[in-house]
């Protein structure tokens, strides 16, 4: 059995009968699903994707989900993302900084079911706190933390611990899982808003 979605191919992935293979080596969310984490992600969900890059993963998400908002700050990958959007009317690209949610708060709707977050920057937990405003009370945060983006000089375990602690102020952590062998020194976190979502 292998993970796949229906849609236009994007990154040279194998396809068969309109199905596209979702490569867990190229996608942190793909790895989470492949490893059997209980993400709560369901067809038709409203999704905010932070760190969409050139659209590899978000293309699969949009194949399955309902309205999908894709935030990416670097202009170069957004060019590729625009191609991914062409065949996906439910995918909305936003060239914006995930650390500045007010700059897309007038576009991204409230009460979404899922936030997928995969930003390679320091303060990854803080980005999750800032964006909690978009989640429904029973929504899910699917976060992947890259240890080296926080601090290359520290032990990944120490980095993860600190990130989880920060997260706990607004989220209840439902599960965590290292992403090897697909991605080294990455921790996947599934969480849900603790109180009414931060505003």
């Amino acid at each position: 059995m292998a993970l796949a979605t229906r849609g236009e191919p994007v990154y040279g992935e194998p396809t068969a009968d309109g199905w596209r293979r979702w490569d867990p080596h190229r996608s942190k969310l793909g790895a989470m699903l492949e490893l059997g984490l209980d993400t709560g992600f369901e067809a038709g969900d409203g999704v905010l994707y932070l760190g969409a890059a050139s659209g590899t993963t978000v293309s699969h998400v949009a194949d399955v989900a309902g309205p999908t908002y894709a935030v990416e700050f670097a202009p170069r990958p957004v060019r590729d993302l625009l191609t991914v959007c062409e065949s996906r009317p439910n995918l909305f690209p936003l060239l914006a900084d995930a650390r500045q949610p007010a700059s897309y708060g007038h576009v991204v709707e409230a009460n979404l079911d899922v936030i997928v977050q995969d930003v390679a920057t320091t303060g990854q937990a803080t980005v999750a706190l800032e964006n909690a405003r978009f989640l429904a009370p029973d929504g899910r945060l699917l976060l992947s933390i890259k240890a080296r983006s926080e601090d290359v000089t520290r032990e990944p375990s120490a980095v993860f611990e600190e990130a989880l602690e920060t997260l706990e102020s607004s989220y209840e952590v439902l599960g965590t899982r290292k992403l090897d062998p697909f991605h080294e020194d990455h921790l996947a976190v599934v969480a849900t808003p603790r109180a009414p979502p931060a505003e």
Binding site: P67, L82, C85, F92, P93, H106, V107, E199
Partner: protein
């Protein structure tokens, strides 16, 4: 409601792009429902259609502006770095001469100046000499920092060019052309001799052979090819660099196969089987 991106649009489609790009709201709301309620869209699906169109247009415009700006910043950074290199060399020569006279040493070059900059001066004249050497050291550090910056920025501005030619050479080509768009529009023969303008003018005035390569001579594929095949190697490299510049400018995605093609072509030329 006033904060919704669709709240105050007029007939002009550009007003939607503008609203997406420059609007703000601290607190998200159920925009699809509000859009239907306010009459902006007939239903949710109609709303998402408008949203898709507006976000794609806004992202395209923003990307293009940001990249335009970035390639110009790259040009400025390369020129600033060249200025620093020149200025640093000039001041280093003066500093070595002065320090040599003050410390009765006859040494030259940047290494000597950096050593002087680290000395503990004794007396007011030595203090001036050491401070002058420190200025040279600071300029050298700034130059190196700027070079790292150029090497970081170039792959973002021109991924294919940076893949074929190393980020620094890619940046230099863009700077010589004055921008990525200008580079993309130049014929490959011009790219081949970029940076050899003096030799080219001498040729056009009739008193020199046509130059075989400009700055691309620094590429291993040219420099590392034996002299009688260098013209062919330079032509092949310039051809692929032109293609890379066009993809970088007009589309922007990375095409790794460009590099594989070029490698193969150079191997053929070096093997001696190249056409003239």
């Amino acid at each position: 409601m006033e904060e919704a991106w669709f709240a105050e649009l007029d007939e002009d489609p550009a007003s939607a792009t503008r609203a997406i790009r420059s609007g703000r709201a601290q607190k998200p709301r159920d925009w699809p429902a509000l859009a239907v309620e306010s009459g902006f869209a007939p239903d949710k699906s109609g709303y998402y259609e408008s949203l898709h169109e507006a976000t794609v247009a806004a992202a395209r415009e923003a990307v293009s502006e940001r990249e335009q700006a970035d390639d110009q910043q790259l040009v400025h950074a390369v020129r600033a770095m060249d200025d620093l290199t020149e200025v640093k060399n000039e001041l280093a020569e003066r500093a070595a001469e002065w320090a040599g006279s003050q410390f009765s040493e006859s040494r030259e070059g940047l290494d000597y100046v950096l050593e002087v900059a680290a000395r503990e001066p004794d007396g007011p004249v030595e203090a001036e000499v050491v401070a002058f050497a420190e200025s040279v050291r600071d300029l050298e550090q700034r130059r190196q920092a700027l070079r790292s910056f150029v090497e970081t920025l170039a792959p973002a501005v021109a991924p294919n060019l940076s893949n074929l030619a190393e980020p620094f050479l890619a940046a230099r080509l863009i700077a010589l052309a004055g921008g990525l768009e200008t580079l993309a529009k130049k014929p490959s023969g011009t790219v081949q001799v970029l940076g050899a303008e003096d030799a080219l003018f001498a040729h056009l005035e009739g008193h020199a052979p046509s130059p075989k390569h400009g700055i691309i001579f620094t590429h291993e594929y040219v420099r590392g090819t034996r002299p009688e095949k260098r013209g062919s190697a330079a032509r092949a490299l310039a051809g692929k660099l032109s293609i890379a510049a066009r993809i970088d400018h007009y589309r922007g995605e990375l095409h790794p196969e460009l590099k594989a093609d070029l490698e193969e072509r150079i191997a053929t030329i070096r093997a001696g089987g190249a056409e003239q």
